[in-house]
Amino acid sequence: MSTYEEEHGIQQNSRDTRETRETSQEEQRRQVRSQLQELFQNFGSTGGEGNGHSDSTLLLQLLSQLLPESLQEEWLQEMDNGKNKGCPDTFAASLPRINKKVLKPSDNCSICYTNYLEDKYPLVVELPHCHHKFDLECLSVWLSRSTTCPLCRDDVMGHRVINEIDTTEAELEEDWGMYG
């Protein structure tokens, strides 16, 4: 439906300007927020280091008085998440799958607490080195946040390079044999 202004070819001046003013205000607010976040996170990571930064701790204190606690917590968590990044997406998918025949009825995934054999086609993978088993689905979510085994904290990224080179070379050789 067209508005009164459109039908009569009149510009809706007053409303337009109000809207643009509102959006620019929102834009400003967003800018201030991101600037504050940058300040907060920068100070947080360098806080109190050396003489040059002695005034930054004071500023941080001021900032934290200004900001609501929930926002501070959110930003701090964001910083933590940036620090301990998980494994690349391909890692979990590249892990060796476990044959269903090897699984015992009592075996369960220690992340979701479900028995593997409850599923008709269980997708179970084993971590290199520590050989702990998990549902592929559960483990990939965890490995997107962390690089350690949930059970023994073994650093799973520590033992993978040799494996990868081996498989690619084997595939290459096979191809050469067929077409050579």
Partner: protein
């Protein structure tokens, strides 16, 4: 079925058992249950004060928030406000400083029973290297166990008296 629903079943079965091999939490966890059965994101737990500590013979209630991302993220556990005095607990808020409940040390194989048990162990073995309550931490660090026990006992008798009036 979600993991927390599974846990709820397991917790009920475990805590109802009198067999110590099946229920290792006897004398430790008095109760652990959702506040409202239809909402498994908010839980409450009551633990017994450990023997041979000033917390013995008292019970402590805590509130547990289970985030949507649980068990990939840890649960948030708080004591009730002004209900306990301990060097790793901020008394006025009930906030607990315990490494396994921090995102960087958490692992998804732990469950709520483990967490509540770990808080109970914290009451038995205070960690005074990184105290939330600096004054309590200093008293322990000085090795003044009598002062520590005295001050906790005084706090707890006051707490009981206020609850009854």
């Amino acid at each position: 079925m979600s993991r927390i629903t599974k846990e709820y079943r397991l917790i009920r079965k475990t805590l109802a058992s009198d067999d110590p091999t099946f229920n290792p939490y006897r004398g430790i966890i008095e109760s652990l249950n959702p506040i409202d059965e239809t909402d498994l994101s908010k839980w409450e737990a009551t633990i017994y004060g450990p023997e041979h500590t000033p917390y013995e013979h008292y019970q402590f209630r805590m509130l547990i928030n289970v985030p949507d991302s649980y068990p990939m993220a840890p649960p948030k556990i708080m004591f009730e406000k002004d209900a306990i005095l301990h060097c790793n607990i901020k008394s006025v808020t009930g906030e607990i400083c315990l490494d396994i409940l921090k995102p960087q040390d958490w692992t998804p194989v732990w469950d709520l029973l483990h967490c509540v048990h770990a808080v109970w162990r914290l009451l038995r073995e205070p960690v005074c290297d990184s105290p939330l309550d600096v004054d309590m931490g200093n008293i322990i660090r000085c090795g003044d166990t009598r002062a520590y026990q005295g001050i906790v006992k005084y706090f707890l008798t006051e707490r009981e008296r206020n609850n009854h009036t």
